[in-house]
Amino acid sequence: MRESFEEELKSLQQDILQMGSLVESMLAKAVESLKNQDSKLAQEVIKMEEDIDRQEKLIEQNCLRLIATQQPLAKDLRKIVAGFKIITDLERMADYCEDIANITLRLADKPLIKPLIDLPRMSAITQKMVKSALDSYVYEDVELAYKMCKNDDTVDHIYAQIFRELLTYMMEDPKTISQATSLLFTGRYIERIADHATNIGERVIYLVTGEKKELND
């Protein structure tokens, strides 16, 4: 029954997964570009963002078409609605990656006030969260979604630590304020990306169980 519709739902998931992998690699590249002061890599990230916007529009159109032509119900409906929301989360994540890339460009001609260690660490955990979030969506794995959301606490924790550390830099030497705020913003952007990953986790839980859970506290 409804084989072509099943196919379409599968390919919708594949498209979302592909968009997600792109965001994942954007985050890796954005933070790497900042760490290595690599303007070329930052430019690449900014270019990727256009691709994400294009994909978001395409998937959104697809969701709308499926709703209009197939009148999905129950789990089919939840799958499409979850997808519809997830791409918004992914698109926001990509925007943050672009913001980080822009910071790289801004800081490119001055040496960094300190080698970056915690930001890449925070970013690595967040990348893993994004990957787990997408896996939990594709495999409809609620347990994975819950586990992934737990990592959000670690990310928040590192962010608080970065905040304190940068504050000491700024108090010691006001000339670092401009760069330190940029780095602080970077931390904030990564922290927001992790929040969006937990949003995806919530959507997955809704998709599988039909229940709306709040996992961001």
């Binding site: 409804r2 119900l73 129950a74 039909g210």
Partner: protein, 253 residues
Amino acid sequence: MKAGNKVEVKNLNLYYGDHHALKDIKLKIKSHSVTAFIGPSGCGKSTFLRTLNRMNDLIEGVKITGEVCIDEKNIYDDSLDVVALRKRVGMVFQRPNPFPMSIYDNIAYGPRVHGIKKKNILDGIVEKSLCQSALWEEVKDRLHKPALGLSGGQQQRLCIARVLAVEPDILLMDEPTSALDPISTLKIEELVQELKKYFTIAIVTHNMQQAARISDDTAYFLNGEIIEHNDTEVIFTNPQDKRTEDYITGRFG
């Protein structure tokens, strides 16, 4: 206009000869609500609808056990007046079936049978019923023309008006829009929303979207059983039984 349950069905079983068509049905229908019955052909939903005004009594070889209580009184009680019951529980069918007489006479027919003769009272009933069924504006200038000259959608609303004319409590609708075009269908659906203020409505429909649009509760029938009965929103967004899910998402049947 009492709140609470209008209908309560207790352990209802129905047999067509050897065939066990309804199995141990338990169901409550809230006052002033719309309850939709969905399910594949032959699942028993229309049979069940007909048990609510004892239309199955007319079919040979039918045996019924259990109770159907309307306002807490079992309608299968021997002392019950079946004619009075059918006045309280009106029914609209799949195909519009107006009598071959004028629009006016179609609606006045029931009240006349029940002994109302005065023209001014009948005039009032005809106008009120036609207004309630959202047909008045379209037919007020040709009340004495043949009802069969109306369009299909108008005929169906006339049939609804004919039921309303005897002031029932409960309205049973057996696929009332399956023979109508989309516009007439929407008119009937709008009408159902309006009518539930005054009546309790049970509707059998094969159109899942229609059930989702117009009902408060939905019951899913399969092989003579009620598999799931829940808020319509729950049935269509998060059904609790796998068999309901399979049916409404089109993966069964």
